[in-house]
């Protein structure tokens, strides 16, 4: 395996550099073609998102130099190397695989646990596959990365807890009402956060939307956007009775909803629970309201505290995420090695038998006239000696590979028997056979 990964991300490079080095899908396809024709790279994938630009590349014969990839980036984007070289991270083989797996499960993302990265990795793979650059190694690697990304999201809590104020508010609403389908939502004021919360709630099935604002046009606009209806601000309190959920974000300097109003609304709605979300600063709803039974009041600090706790919980999942990734990297590397073991054993056997044949012919020539039976007997004896000699190393290689720790012994075998020089042809043939189709 001769894999190299080079890139930069939101931590290593400022946005001014990232935007200069970013690839559109069309540029990525062109870059892959250039890598093949100019840099002699047999497989490559360009992963370019708003927070990272990464190049994964490999070739079967010799390792790829990072300086070549760096020079290629500079050439492609017409940006002097010295402007971004200090921002680059560089990984080889297992480290490169680990990095990609971590990226795919969003363990390296700015927002831990986000799921968009999976589709971005998938898109990068698709572009490379279309360009014929996702071969036996990178094709397999990216398919594994996508599977690992999904697995980590399923098995850990890295993406489960919400980390925006609006989605946290929806979570709390669901802890009170189970389902928001059929519920009535009253929006007071028309701020950005309340609009986002409203959007989330509509997505969850809120049935009736009432919007009230001191500026009727704004109320009308928001109501129309979400299929609700606007109400005069003066009638806001009367409509409190109808609302299961209230989102308030007016610019009022003093509270506009007081305990007695909520008590009256509760009485009229026969004490059905109410969820009040006060996003305004200064607050719109008197905090004493939270003391009442069946009323749940959350202000912006409460929601942000929940967001902070969820972020911390996601952060705490990163260790578990890394553990899973490390496991999958080992499995992948071993799988690649197992795939490589067959050719190594074949090359070893072939090389030793070639030597045997050469020495046999030389000896038989020196011996002169021998009967056909004698020649056959001598040849059979040399074969037996070679087979006996090879038996132990081959079975040891197979055992070690089967145990999942075969790469060391394969490397050792290649070095001991000088098999590297013979591997070029085999790798080329294998590359032809095992090219994977995209999306499989």
């Amino acid at each position: 395996m001769k894999l190299a990964a080079l890139g930069l991300n939101h931590r290593s490079a400022p946005v001014e550099i990232r935007e200069r080095l970013a690839f559109t899908p069309e540029q990525a396809a062109r870059a892959l073609e250039m890598l093949r024709s100019q840099a002699g790279v047999s497989e490559a994938v360009v992963l370019s998102t708003c927070n990272r630009v990464e190049l994964y590349a490999c070739r079967p014969d010799e390792p790829i130099h990072f300086r070549d990839l760096q020079a290629f980036l500079a050439r492609f984007h017409q940006l002097p190397e010295e402007q971004f070289s200090s921002c680059l991270y560089k990984y080889r083989d297992a480290e490169a695989i680990e990095h990609l797996f971590l990226v795919a499960c969003s363990g390296d993302s700015m927002v831990l646990g986000e799921t968009q990265i999976l589709s971005q990795v998938k898109e990068a793979y698709r572009v490379a596959a279309q360009a014929g650059m996702a071969g036996p190694l990178l094709g397999r690697l990216f398919q594994h990365a996508l599977a690992v990304g999904k697995e980590v999201h399923t098995l850990t809590g890295i993406g489960k807890l919400k980390i925006s104020v609006s989605s946290v508010a929806v979570d709390f609403a669901e802890k009170i009402f189970t389902s928001l389908a059929g519920r009535t939502l009253l929006v007071l004021g028309a701020g950005k956060v309340s609009e986002l919360t409203l959007k989330h709630m509509v997505h969850k099935g809120v049935q009736t939307i009432l919007v009230s604002n001191r500026t009727p046009e704004k109320a009308e606009q928001l109501a129309r956007a979400f299929g609700g209806r606007s109400l005069p601000f003066e009638l806001m309190l009367e409509n409190l009775t109808l609302a299961d959920i209230v989102i308030s974000s007016t610019g009022s300097p003093k509270p506009i909803i007081h305990p007695q109003q909520v008590r009256e609304a509760l009485r009229r709605r026969r004490h059905q629970p109410m969820f009040l979300i006060d996003i305004a600063v200064p607050r719109d709803i008197d905090p004493a309201v939270n003391e009442m039974d069946n009323v749940f009041l959350y202000d912006i600090d409460d929601l942000e505290k929940a967001v902070a706790e969820n972020r911390a919980a996601r952060q705490s999942e990163i260790l578990e995420c890394r553990r899973l990734v490390a496991e999958r990297v080992d499995q992948f590397v071993n799988a690649i090695r197992i795939r490589d073991a067959g050719p190594v054993i074949a090359r070893l056997t072939e090389k030793v038998h070639q030597m045997r044949q050469q020495e046999l012919e030389r000896t038989l020539n020196k011996l002169g006239a021998l009967s056909a039976k004698d020649r056959e007997e001598i040849e059979y004896m040399t074969k037996r000696i070679i087979n006996k000699l090879l038996n132990s190393p081959i079975s040891t290689i197979r055992q070690e590979v089967a145990k999942g720790d075969g790469h060391r012994i394969l490397d050792a075998a290649e070095k001991l028997f000088d098999l590297d020089s013979d591997s070029e042809e085999a790798a080329k043939d294998e590359g032809k056979d095992e090219r994977l189709e995209p999306g499989t």
């Binding site: 509760l266 409460d302 706790e309």
Partner: protein
């Protein structure tokens, strides 16, 4: 066999509590499988006892408690299907089942079984309905406690794993109300059957301590049902009422188990409950 069933319930309870407290939800099927396995074994044991004796089990405290545990698991399994299987329900419910089962085992060691007697159809109905009523109130108690815990989490804004793992207040309230309504209906039916079966007016048995406690319990549950369906009382207050009601049920059971009254004389299943 009942001891093994109890041990399986116990294992289920431990699994469920471990899952509730675990750093990340495992969604292990072990707690539910234990509840199911214990219930099947428990049912087999009841069938075997009935078949061996050729009649329903006697009115002894051991059988009463074990039957309440059996009915409770039955209701739990039904509710598990009806209410979308909230996993935390197992964590809260299994300990109650284990307590009933362990109490039954403790009593079986301490006291000999009562002599068999003959039971009328009314008394048989009284016993069966009473056991079901107790199990339903146990269920209402568990969901009431879960409601109070979840309500406290939401009010106090404790954004921990308990908040995430407990069902919503709406689900807990529906479970609580269903158990309460069902429990009250069968409990009332049981008392009517007892009154008819013994040909005595309620005023007569209300004068006995056990009868008085049963009557107080019934009135409390009547108030709870009335409050939930006909007045705005709901949520936390109703949950407190179900907890208080179950405390009365436990007192009634305690008095029943300690009393050498009509029940303890053993009149078949019909006479085994308070």
């Amino acid at each position: 066999m009942f001891t093994i069933a109890t041990l399986i319930y116990l294992a289920g309870g431990i699994f469920a509590l471990r899952e509730l407290m675990a750093p990340r939800p495992s969604r292990s099927p072990c707690p539910l499988l234990c509840a199911l396995g214990g219930f099947l074994l428990h049912t087999l044991w009841l069938a075997w006892v009935t078949a061996e004796r050729g009649r329903l089990p006697e009115a002894d405290p051991f059988t009463s408690l074990s039957l309440i545990a059996w009915c409770a698991v039955l209701l739990f399994l039904i509710s598990y299907r009806l209410f979308g299987a909230p996993p935390a329900l197992t964590s809260f419910f299994m300990p109650v089942v284990v307590l009933f089962s362990l109490a039954a085992l403790g009593i079986s060691v301490a006291e000999p079984a009562a002599e068999p007697g003959s039971a009328s159809g009314w008394m048989l109905a009284h016993g069966i309905l009473m056991l079901l009523g107790c199990a339903a109130f146990a269920f209402a108690f568990v969901t009431g406690v879960m409601y109070l815990v979840q309500e406290h989490q939401l009010k106090a804004k404790s954004f921990g794993k308990l908040l995430r793992r407990l069902p919503s207040l709406d689900v807990l309230d529906r479970m609580n109300v269903s158990a309460l309504a069902f429990g009250f209906a069968v409990y009332t039916g049981s008392l009517v059957a007892a009154a008819v079966g013994q040909m005595r007016s309620p005023l007569q048995w209300v004068r006995q301590p056990l009868g008085f406690l049963v009557a107080v319990t019934w009135v409390l549950y009547l108030f709870a049902v009335h409050a939930r369906f006909l007045t705005p009382l709901r949520g936390k207050k109703l949950a407190y009422l179900t907890v208080l009601g179950f405390a009365l049920i436990l007192c009634t059971l305690g008095l029943f188990l300690g009393a050498d009254s009509l029940h303890a004389r053993g009149t078949g299943l019909g006479g085994l409950a308070p």
